[in-house]
């Protein structure tokens, strides 16, 4: 019984982790059709921002929840203004540009911060279930992921800003004919997506540490999760994170972490074969 509870809690932690890592990419890809290959590096920079803030004496929660997302949002605004704005509607070009940006950010981070892992202690300890000890921080992450997704859903579904964003996503030209400036919508969307990547980096720093090349590990998983989720940014990413996170954790428990990742990739491949437009291309169509 204890073991089952531990597995379920681990699944919740893994789902929260995957959801946080994917949501920034989901917002930018889902709303703007831009595949941001620098997403992993945005996570990395969020991690560095949090760690350096903590080292400078700032409260760790403030560092993770405010400074990390804000720092990466500022970078996102610059990237959108200087690079992406010129490439909208050209998916391959945005991929190439963001790949170049990814390499540049890795190079700069390595030069300035060194090619070594830096870390920070988790702000919460562990708890016991029977003879098993579990890190409480994983569940804090799952809780934060839940809040982020609930807020994202509520904003897109119930507010005027969300309505304008969904309309622009569906038909940019028509939205502009109705007085909406798509360039402004895209700039805000890119900044929010970047902030969410920074938030993920800040929150993951205590459990994974931060290294200039860490982004590669995240971007692939995030990309697979977003594509499996389909067109609906929030609903799709939440469903695919739940599905793939569960498969990954259960497989890891039964076998090894490497085979757990293999199972995740295999499951995503099968899902995309069966549902080429992703989960929300078939069910929950039109949900935010």
């Amino acid at each position: 019984m204890d073991y089952l509870l531990v597995v379920l809690l681990q699944i919740a932690g893994a789902v929260g982790n995957l959801a946080l890592v994917s949501v920034g990419l989901a917002v930018i890809f889902g709303m703007m059709r831009v595949i941001n290959l620098a997403h992993g590096e945005f996570i990395m920079l969020g991690g560095f921002a949090a760690i350096f803030s903590v080292q400078a004496g700032i409260n760790i929660w403030l560092a993770m929840l405010v400074i990390a997302p804000l720092s990466v949002a500022v970078l996102g605004v610059l990237v959108e203004r200087l690079v992406m704005r010129r490439l909208y509607g050209r998916m391959v070009d945005t991929m190439l540009a963001s790949w170049g940006l990814s390499l540049l950010l890795i190079g700069l981070a390595t030069t300035f911060f060194g090619n070594r892992v830096v870390g920070v202690a988790a702000p919460v300890g562990s708890f016991r279930i029977g003879e098993y000890s579990l890190g409480a921080y994983d569940f804090v992450l799952a809780g934060i992921a839940l809040v982020v997704f609930a807020a994202g859903y509520a904003i897109l579904r119930f507010t005027r800003v969300g309505l304008v964003a969904r309309a622009t996503m569906q038909n940019r030209e028509m939205a502009s004919s109705l007085g909406i400036e798509p360039s402004r919508v895209y700039a805000v969307t890119f900044a929010i997506g970047s902030a969410l990547s920074g938030l993920a980096g800040g929150l993951l720093a205590p459990i994974s540490g931060v290294l200039p090349t860490m982004g590669v590990a995240y971007v692939a998983k995030a990309f697979i999760t977003v594509i499996t989720g389909g067109a609906s940014v929030i609903t799709g990413t939440a469903l695919s994170s739940t599905l793939l996170g569960s498969i990954n954790t259960v497989s890891t428990f039964i076998t090894t972490p490497v085979l757990g990742d293999v199972a995740l990739l295999l499951a995503a491949t099968i899902f995309l074969r069966l549902l080429p437009t992703g989960i929300t291309g078939r069910i929950f169509k039109g949900a935010p």
Binding site: R160, Q170, E173, L178, I180, E181
Partner: protein, 237 residues
């Protein structure tokens, strides 16, 4: 004589390096209903897209109520009073009818938006029972009425209407004709209508301009469009 609302002078535009419009000059007075007639590929839709700002003109100028909007974005033109109902309707398919209307009124204050939407629903009562349905599942006629309603929610002074009868059943076309007449009168709207349905255009327009190879080639008395021989000149073969 009402003052001019929109004036285009020597307007030239096209797609990439392919020129389509070769110096079109026209003006629309406040409350005037102008029809544009021409064969396929003559530049009718390009003219509307250029006036809306979706195509940047390569030459000439566009003034709206005396203000130069030649280089203004489509959004800025919309906020200045130009409305656009494109060919194919371009409904937001995943949004409900009500949300499509809300997007139309998005740049108004919430209070104004509510009042405008309520008025539009009153003017187009066919929308009332379908407000919660997704735009993408509506019939062609319902989508066309929604496209017009959504445009009205942006509170335009001038509407650019591109082939509204295309693929629509006759009963809805009649309803649309009556609605457009009533709206133009009650709101003092100026309307620039591109259409291939001669009966529709002749019943609504006070002036009909003919476009040929990207230039305005003349003007026809709308009453004469009922003449079958004349009609043959403008209908696709």
């Amino acid at each position: 004589m009402a003052p001019d609302l929109l004036t285009a002078e020597n307007l030239q535009s096209g797609y990439g390096r392919i020129p389509i419009l070769f110096g079109i000059s026209l003006s629309i007075a406040e409350g005037e209903f102008i029809g544009i007639l021409g064969h396929n590929g003559m530049g009718k839709s390009t003219l509307l897209r250029t006036l809306m700002g979706h195509i940047v003109p390569t030459g000439g100028s566009i003034h709206l109520a005396g203000r130069d909007v030649t280089r203004a974005s489509p959004a800025a033109r919309s906020r200045a009073g130009i409305g656009y109902v494109p060919q194919g309707r371009q409904i937001f398919p995943a949004l409900s009818v009500m949300d499509n209307l809300r997007v139309g009124a998005a740049h108004q204050s919430p209070k104004q938006a509510k009042a405008i939407i309520d008025q539009v629903i009153e003017d187009l009562p066919r929308l009332k029972p379908i407000l919660s349905r997704a735009g993408g599942v509506l019939s062609g006629g319902e989508q066309q009425i929604l496209a017009l309603a959504r445009c009205l929610c942006a509170h335009p002074k001038l509407i650019l209407l591109d082939e509204p009868t295309e693929g629509i059943q006759p009963s809805i076309i009649e309803e649309m004709k009556d609605t457009l007449k009533a709206l133009a009168r009650s709101r003092n709207l100026s309307i620039l209508l591109v259409e291939q349905n001669l009966e529709f255009i002749s019943d609504l327009a006070t002036r009909v301009l003919v476009i040929k190879r990207g230039q305005l080639s003349g003007e026809i008395d709308p009453a004469k469009l009922h003449d079958a021989d004349l009609a043959g000149e403008f209908l696709p073969a």
